[in-house]
Amino acid sequence: MTVKSPQEVAAGLFLIVVAAIGLWQGAELAAGSLNQMGPGMLPRALSVILVVLGGALALDGFLEKGAGLERWHVRGPVFILGAAVVFGLLVRPVGLAIAGPVAVLLGAMADKGTKFVETLVFGVILTAFCVGLFKYALGLPIPVAPWLLGY
């Protein structure tokens, strides 16, 4: 048997893995009866359905010709999502004044053509604009620079 649509097979396996995580996390929950359903019944039922659907999808990938696997890029996800994580970690301790430009700089590295100085200047201006808009104009309680301003 040969794989005719790698994408379908991978997609099916992906569903099965997610469902397995659901089954593992929901293993300790009581299922109850249909009359009096427990917290575990639906997560378990849905996970089982996902396993079946994933299996069907993977099987389909063996039977019918379809799309190949797409190439996964590393640079984009690492820098974009990394920038968001760093923003999340920094915003409370050092505030938007630092977290903003850092997130912009880090995120911008997802693109090869990024110029450091241009992006830095842009990040600082953008952050200043956001502070003005979100903090002062809208009064959202986002920390700006606790180490300098105390808020």
């Binding site: 997609a11 659907l53 999340g88 912009v104």
Partner: protein, 500 residues
Amino acid sequence: MGDLLGNLALGFSTALSIQNILLCFTGCLVGTLIGVLPGVGPIATIAMLLPLTFKVDPTGALIMLAGIYYGAQYGGSTTAILVNIPGEATSVVTVLDGHQMAKQGRAGVALGTAAIGSFIAGSVATVFIAALGKPLTELALLFGPAEYFSLMVLGLAFAVVLARGSVLKAVAVIFLGLLLSTVGTDLETGEERLTFGIPDLADGIDFAVLAMGIFGFAEILRNLENPETRDVVRGAIGRLLPSKEDLKRSLAPIARGTGLGAILGILPGNGAVLGPFASYTLEKKIAKDPSRFGKGAIEGVAGPEAANNAGAQTAFIPLLTLGIPPNAVMALMVGAMTIHGVIPGPQVMTKNPSLFWGMIASMWIGNLMLLIINLPLVGLWVRLLKVPYRLMFPAILLFCCIGIYSINNNPGDVIMTAFFGLAGYALYKFGFEPAPLLLGFVLGKLMEETFRQAMVISRGSFMTFVERPLSGALLAITAAILVIAVLPNVRKRREEAFQE
């Protein structure tokens, strides 16, 4: 009829306060501003701008949010016409002829026609909602848990039919959404489910976090991979107001588009997406010279744009009358309403009439605002669209981060959004559509609640869903839709329809 006028009068007296007009104006303006950015659709826009409304009273907040929503919709059309990429699913069709018109130096006329068409459609849809609101609310009284459950099943079936690609994948991705919706504290026993022991997950996954991850972040990742093919219209935008000849050609398509869009928009399961496609196909079919389509036919802009806007508005009907969000945008509206202490559903109209009718009246005002704001600001949008993506995407990223943080003032939410961004990227690589997942997630909690109630009432018998006439009828329609979707020749035609 007198009732309707009285209610609309109440609505307008609420919506026309200076504060609410200003909120509506601001909402439309910033909504368009963000919505114009390529790759930022209404879902990401609303999630990003949700915190803007926190300081306002509930009525004002909903008016502003509705403004943001229309702004984002219209911004998407602007991008579709000026650049050859659609901002969101519903403006895919506008690209076909709108961008061709722009290339012929008639960008202004295309934008003007889109705005006028949207305005007419919006006005009709407003009256439509006002007229249907009351009878449908009364219908809601006939609905027990079993009927609600079956209606949502029907909605999900529609979502399967409307998704691109394989039916199996669409079904799977909906179940994935349903599974995600079970994360968090169980409503009846208070036990934590599938939380991995993470305290932030005890309240479940925040909808805005999930939506921003798989729509906002994942979209940036997708755009970065597809080398920039932006083709911003150079040269003149031209006059904005359509000529008499243009108007004559557009009026009938606008009328037909409005009707189609308004009816499809009510369907649960994101029927609004179908409106522009249906309108475009119809106009092409009945045109005297179909070969003009795809080469800058004004009917191909006027009809779909009217359908788009009418559907965007009538999608509020299931939410306001039954409390069921028919698509992801409406689910964000639920989130916003809940934050302000308003629980969407039939009781809103009776308990809080000034909010209900004020919001409906503000829909019309919002459409008028769009017309007023957009026509003079087109030059600004053009300049904005010329900003290179290497500067645009870090800005979008920062706005997303600030927006997500501000919803709950929780830095953990930003990190969780990054995680769902990765999940959205994986879904994209595996060829899954993210929109049905969101709908499954949105309806999941409601479905579980109504399912469990129905099972308690029926003492554990599945037959209750079939035996109750209304519920049985809804399930029969669901089965019919699904059977039709997998029939071979319909399947082929569906693929062709999406190809177009």
